[in-house]
């Protein structure tokens, strides 16, 4: 037993070392690009590295990003662990944001239960939206990648329409009225974006970990993920588990939606509020190897880099677009040290073949 534990640590150290090596290489590439494009490269590069730490506010932005990246990373990890490749977190975020807004702006909003009610409404909406592709797959065998991608587009358009027409604060705007103050997440640190959302994200990490590794549902889910045929053989209702995993992941996505609109960043519902953050959860989940406890750690590093790059774009003469190039190269290099996830996705698209000993549980 102790030997497996020490093996675990060895594996963790090896992976961390690999990721860090890649990171250093990536930063080197970033420096070269900065060297070419910036008039004061050292300063610019310094901004990339230290940007997020320059003030309480920027630290707040970073941590707020981490909370959100953690949520989307968790949502993807959960479905990936069940070997479902639903890409629907984005749609769930929009539906979650929408329903949390509907409750916050309803008569319930200003009451004492306004905030939790709005959060729960968001989670419920996200769960429903996660349920649809899951159910369609279980009952009809409809490919969840396609259906969830399409549902994303529909959710984005639906929210745009509702915000623009029926829910709009004043004609011609692209947002609803501000939510009642009591529905907005309180800040944890004054004058930063760090708010209740961070706590919700950390609770979600703990709950997801617990559900996956300490409940029978979680074990069933992982067994379905490891080998669905075996799960059926063992008497596990694989379809039920699959649908419930996608629904639970949807609830996480919906919660992220509520965190967006009820958080310090907005406090209202507006069009395209998610800014394509949801998809970055795929990167987080894959690098974290779908393990809930690793998700916030990866989010912390990735969020720092993301924030540093954005601040570099704002403060220096390196155009914002170059940052995308740096980000892309970093992802490529870090990815080159992780041989996981995609293979599973492919295996999923191909006729079932027994997997060999790939990544063990956390």
């Amino acid at each position: 037993m102790s030997s497996t534990r020490s093996n675990m640590w060895k594996a963790a150290r090896r992976e961390t070392a690999r990721a860090l090596t890649a990171l250093v290489m990536a930063l080197l590439v970033a420096f070269i690009i900065v060297l070419i494009t910036s008039k004061s490269p050292v300063e610019t590069f310094g901004t990339l590295l230290s940007g997020p730490m320059t003030s309480k506010r920027t630290i707040g932005l970073w941590i707020d990003d981490v909370a959100k990246l953690t949520m989307t990373g968790l949502a993807f990890s959960l479905v990936f662990q069940a070997r479902q490749f639903s890409m629907g977190v984005q749609g769930q975020v929009y539906m979650g944001g929408l329903f949390s807004a509907l409750v916050a702006l309803s008569p319930i909003g200003p009451t004492a239960i306004g905030m939790p009610a709005a959060v729960l409404a968001g989670m419920a909406a996200g769960a429903c939206y996660g349920f649809i592709p899951g159910y369609a797959k279980a009952r009809l065998g409809a490919n969840e990648i396609v259906s969830s991608l399409m549902l994303n587009y529909i959710a984005v358009n639906l929210v745009t329409y509702l915000v623009r027409e029926p829910l709009v604060a004043a004609p011609g705007l692209l947002s609803t009225a501000n939510f009642p103050p009591n529905t907005i997440f309180p800040t944890l640190i004054d004058r930063t974006r760090i708010d209740l959302g961070l706590i919700l994200a950390l609770i979600s990490v703990a709950v997801t970990w617990f559900a996956l590794y300490r409940t029978s549902w979680g074990l069933k889910l992982r067994l379905v993920g490891h080998n669905a045929r075996f799960a059926e053989y063992a008497g596990i209702k694989a379809n039920f588990i699959m649908v419930s995993a996608m629904t639970a992941s949807g609830a996480l996505g919906g919660l992220l939606g509520a965190m967006f609109v009820q958080g310090q960043a907005y406090g209202k519902l507006l069009v395209q509020f998610e800014g394509n953050l949801a998809f970055e959860g795929i990167l987080i989940a894959i690098v974290a190897r779908n393990r809930p406890l690793a998700v916030p750690v990866v989010a912390l590093f990735y969020g720092y880099l993301r924030q540093g790059a954005l601040i570099m774009g704002i403060r220096t003469d390196v155009p914002t677009e170059v940052i995308a190039v740096v980000q892309a190269i970093i992802i490529l290099l870090v990815a080159s040290s992780f041989k996981f996830g995609g293979g599973r996705l492919l295996a999923r698209l191909k006729p079932a073949k027994p997997a060999t000993a790939t990544g063990a549980g956390a």
């Binding site: 003030s55 506010r57 920027t58 932005l61 358009n157 745009t160 623009r164 004609p171 011609g172 705007l173 692209l174 501000n178 004058r191 967006f260 960043a265 907005y266 507006l270 395209q272 509020f273 800014g275 394509n276 953050l277 954005l310 601040i311 774009g313 704002i314 403060r315 155009p319 914002t320 677009e321």
Partner: protein, 321 residues
């Protein structure tokens, strides 16, 4: 006071764009105003492109507020609430929001200058001219998205077109995106197919696609925000040829004026300016293309209408009030 700012010790200005330069209309116009200000006034400008991600806009604004600038400029209703919030936190700094204004009634924004444009007044003239030059009696509008600064162009355009020809047929399409030129082109082709021979795209890059469809069909188009014929003229004469006028929203000019007044200590911070034809902040381009496409008598009528609007004799509908 005015004496404070010199070339060596300039007024430090940050322009925060919730997008990026290169849109050939709105942001570029604001940036042009900044360039003019740097040339002519004791002003040093930093343009910050915050990109298209909504949750980055407030941080970029805050970063500018933290960054030692005297005046911070941002545009459109999408930024207003952030500017209002920031104005409270940084009461020693000045803020200018163009194309929208905060709600001063809440008493929030003594250090914020709002600049709004009555584009409908210029839209009216363009609509009038379009209906007159249309041979088919059908004109088209292509909107990027339906929000008030966009629809304001359209309501004025509609009213003007109907004033010229009560039975004019107006086609309307919304692309739902400002960044899909292929889609804009398709929408314009569809409207051309339905008989429109003048098209007014109000849709950013999507609209640029629409202009191309008009160019290929050799019909007419109305440009938006800047004098788009002049922008196209050096590289694409055929394109410039069909843009017989543009509804100009002179963002750069009005920002220049606002900075000039700020230096002179005369800018009315704490209020909103609603600028239209009268103030010269909007207008239609009257260039050689205009003269070629619009008969002299119609041009005279339009000049007359312009005077009446300025004098308040014609009330133009608007979504801005």
């Amino acid at each position: 006071s005015a004496a404070e700012y010199t070339k060596d010790k300039p007024l430090k200005v940050a322009l925060v764009l919730h997008g990026a330069l290169g849109d050939k209309s709105f942001f570029d116009s604001a940036a042009a105003g900044m360039k003019l200000a740097e040339d002519k006034l004791p002003v040093k400008v930093k343009i910050i492109e915050a990109g298209y991600q909504k949750d980055r806009w407030e941080p970029a604004l805050a970063d500018a507020a933290d960054g030692g600038y005297d005046v911070i400029i941002a545009g459109t209703f999408e930024m207003t609430s952030y500017v209002a919030k920031m104005a409270k936190d940084y009461s020693d700094k000045k803020f200018i929001i163009f194309d929208d204004a905060p709600d001063y009634k809440t008493g929030c924004c003594a250090n914020v200058l709002g600049i709004q444009y009555l584009t409908s007044t210029a839209g009216y003239l363009a609509g009038y001219a379009s209906a007159k030059v249309s041979k088919t009696g059908t004109v088209g509008e292509i909107l990027g998205m339906e929000f008030k600064t966009v629809t304001d162009f359209a309501v004025g355009f509609d009213q003007g077109a109907k004033a010229a020809k009560p039975d004019v047929k107006i086609l309307k399409a919304t692309a739902n995106t400002f960044s899909d030129p292929a889609k804009g082109k398709e929408l314009a082709l569809a409207q051309l197919g339905q008989g429109a021979d003048v098209i007014f795209p109000i849709a950013g890059s999507t609209g640029i696609g629409a202009l191309q469809a008009v160019r290929d069909a050799k019909k007419l188009a109305v440009g938006v925000d800047s004098d788009q014929a002049t922008i196209f003229a050096p590289t694409d004469a055929a394109q410039a040829d069909v843009i017989f006028t543009s509804v100009e929203k002179k963002v750069g000019q009005s920002l220049y004026t606002a900075l000039e007044q700020t230096i002179a200590g005369k800018a009315p911070y704490g209020t909103a300016l609603l600028l239209g034809l009268k103030e010269g902040a909007v207008g239609i381009s009257k260039n050689k293309y205009y003269e070629k496409a619009v008969p002299a008598d119609v041009r005279a009528e339009i000049d007359g209408l312009e005077k009446k609007i300025v004098a308040g004799e014609i009330t133009v509908n608007t979504t801005m009030k």
